[in-house]
Assembly symmetry: C2
Homo-oligomer: 475 residues x 2
């Protein structure tokens, strides 16, 4: 599973522009990294709260590992040059490497998260402003368990993360591949057209029903009657009650698959009620999601607050309206019970369900929200400064003591820096304290401790300095 790829557009804003001449990639500057670290910490804290381990896999996989897993999108895979040895490709998502890892190590039960970059060689013509290298943050539960318990936990995790990141209101849409397939069957879609019709349904967040219907009828050769029947179903949204109603629906109830999916949706909602998250969850029959490997429940979280969506849009600065419609999507995933078996020589199945957090989009929203002047890029607590010349040695000696005591400290790399330039550096870097050394202080065995914000100064004996710094910076 994956999110709509190419999460973020090039930023035209000069301040934030730091694409590095390669089309579709960018460097992260220290301010962006500080925001990124904060977002990652929130997400990792949540994954760990839910008992996840973490693994790592190489950035490239054997080409054959990726072949046949991504349908039409396979053309976006980056291949390495044949320089002798195996043919290799850069990973396209973290799900296929995870499935390969499970099969190769014969792991049947694991709850793991994996945060790493993935690569998609978007067609330059299509991709104005899409990044070709971006992070994914995946959480997955593998194992044969009772229905919908791990699935519900994945949705709880999305709920917790989006709440904690404080991105504004959101909705989590859920559906089930078996409901979609059952719906296609009862609406008269031929078996061999399920996947392609499913792809067309997936466009409903970007296209009107009229255009989707046109594509079904004109391009995919579906009968108008079948399309209309689908149109009725995919307009439905609700909760447990809708699942209940569809189980009674004379047409839908003819499909065993659909009934299995609908019963599971009911069960899912029951567990979500226990988690107190149903306020944000909508059973939405138009949710299809692109990838082939889903076999059960699927979901996608979207931001619904206009401000957040417009911040994301602005951050993305997409000229192309079509690309920006689904900008609100910040997480997605589902159940894929067949993927691990594709890598096992004996085809042994390991049922999996997981979620991917659309971290790049979240970064861009957080970047928009943060006032650049307030983002500190270091955690330095104190600068060791001198009021007179020829005190470099004394400064180095003192800072060494501070470092050894675990205090985050800086010193200017000049023999005789001016006091003013040392103080200015602190103001610019947001360093809260300065330890000022002068002839008199050295004679008295003290250090002048200055609070940058208030300019208040007080003499502290060398013996008390470390505890005084800790006391003042812990608050």
């Amino acid at each position: 599973y994956w999110l709509p790829h190419g999460e973020i557009c090039y930023k035209e804003d000069a301040e934030q522009k730091n694409d590095n001449k390669q089309q579709g990639t960018r460097d992260y500057n220290p301010k962006q990294m500080a925001i990124r670290e904060k977002v990652f910490n929130t997400i990792i804290r949540c994954f760990k709260r839910h008992g996840a381990e973490t693994i790592d896999t190489p950035v490239f996989e054997l080409k054959e590992t990726l072949t046949g897993k991504y349908g039409e999108d396979s053309k976006l895979i980056y291949d390495l040059k044949d320089q002798g040895g195996e043919l290799l490709s850069l990973r396209y998502d973290l799900t296929v490497p995870f499935a390969r890892y499970l099969a190769m190590n014969k792991i049947t039960n694991i709850k793991r998260y994996h945060i790493a970059k993935v690569y998609r060689r978007d067609n330059p013509a299509m991709t104005r402003g899409r990044y070709r290298e971006f992070y994914q943050c995946d959480f997955d539960i593998a194992g044969q368990y009772d229905a919908m318990i791990p699935d519900a936990e994945c949705l709880k995790i999305v709920h917790e993360i989006l709440n904690e990141l404080d991105l504004g209101d959101f909705r989590i849409k859920v559906n089930d591949r078996r409901i979609l397939d059952g719906m296609f069957a009862v609406c008269g879609v031929p078996d061999d057209k399920f996947r392609t019709i499913c792809s067309t349904v997936d466009k409903l967040d970007k296209m009107s029903w009229e255009d989707v219907k046109k594509e079904m009828v004109n391009e995919k050769g579906l009968s108008e009657e079948a399309a209309d029947q689908i149109g009725e179903y995919v307009s439905m949204q609700g909760g447990m009650d809708l699942a209940e109603r569809l189980l009674q629906d004379h047409k839908m109830s003819q499909s065993k698959q659909a009934c299995a999916g609908l019963s599971d949706i009911k069960l899912l909602f029951k567990y979500l009620q226990l988690f107190h998250v149903t306020d944000k969850v909508v059973f939405d029959l138009s949710l299809a999601r692109g990838l082939d490997y889903y076999t059960g429940v699927i979901y996608e979280a979207v931001l619904t607050q206009a401000s957040a969506v417009s911040a994301a849009n602005e951050a993305q600065n997409c000229a192309n309206a079509e690309e920006s419609v689904s900008v609100g999507s910040v997480a997605g995933g589902g159940r894929y019970d067949g993927l691990v078996g594709m890598f096992d020589p004996k085809g042994r199945r390991v049922p999996c369900v997981g979620v991917s957090i659309g971290i790049e989009r979240i970064f861009s929203i957080m970047e928009q929200k943060a006032s650049p002047e307030k983002v500190r890029t270091t955690e330095v607590q104190i600068m060791v400064a001198s009021a007179q010349k020829n005190l470099l040695e004394e400064r180095l000696q003192l800072i060494s003591e501070l470092w050894n005591a675990g205090i985050k400290a800086e010193v200017m790399y000049k023999k005789n820096p001016k006091l003013l330039s040392q103080l200015q550096y602190c103001e610019e870097a947001g360093i809260p304290l300065v330890a000022i050394l002068g002839e008199q202080e050295l004679k008295d065995g003290v250090v002048k401790l200055r609070v940058v914000a208030t300019r208040e100064e007080v003499d502290i004996s060398r013996a008390d300095l470390i505890s005084e710094i800790k006391r003042r910076t812990e608050a």
Copy 2:
């Protein structure tokens, strides 16, 4: 700058073998990741203590960015397939992307760290057991500053990190490219042979002087007399006193370059004395280091305790003695004042000095030291269990409360798990507490809190549960 590449050998030990069929890469399992996280945290804490910001760059660079930076090793660069668009290569180290970043963004002052994977397509024949994807942990200071102050801080950082990681005793060898070049000049090495003779000197940690001399004379065409003079110098080791002595040396003192380097070594030792780290630092004229771009001080840290070296050797399980000799090397770096200018259209210089921590080697030592059964891969504090059947809903409700209170908690994904299997899971995963729900507890409004290690059980009211768990797990 970089460490001897391919830090770690394939592990033949079945338990730890997790190479993933691609030659030269490996997956990290949860236990390895837990160790890796601990090592990274120690290193990042140190970098932050010294006021470093962090940046990130893409995993691939334009091929032309890497061209001509690595000398002979350029053949080890991974190229991407030409699929249209720019020619791209996977990064070979973090130093060249850093220099490219500085030049492109016209940054003249920065102290940054960067932890990321780099790629070296080692010749399969040469590289039995070397990884082709491995981490580098780089800390660099860029800017025009007074001599040796940032250089001394880099060595202080190496000292702090190796101390904190508790890898046993170590030495930090230092030398200066200008001393090497001056030495070659006064020994009669022709100018155009400086770099190739330097490469041969660099082999002194793996070859005897006799073999090095043979290579100089027979392969590189140096006169026997010149080689013998070099031989005398490169056997010298000492401290500030040696620098002093060489400044008086009638031959060495004829080279301006050597004198500049020797004066800076003296200054470096003066600052290192203030940092109290001279006990571990040796001025060693045989230290050469491979890369072309160094222009001043160079250094390399090696583990000297037999146990650590043998642990690393064992971890690496290198059949090839030649490869395993320099196994003790765990950090290296130096000054490179010319590299940024190579990326600036006007050739503006930004002096830089930095250090790279040989994290893969450190991982392998830490892995050897850790008893596998004691490595916890999650931080889960409590399992929510049930003593009877039909309590899934009650378990889910309780765990949801715990998650919302920030407690790390797990529940088994079964409707009716046996109490015994829930308790066994805790023992295996190292989870210290169990919250047990039963009919009686629910009636009484309590939870039975069990300490896994002691099997002690006590009833806690639901209202007090969260504070009780926090109290017990904070200790």
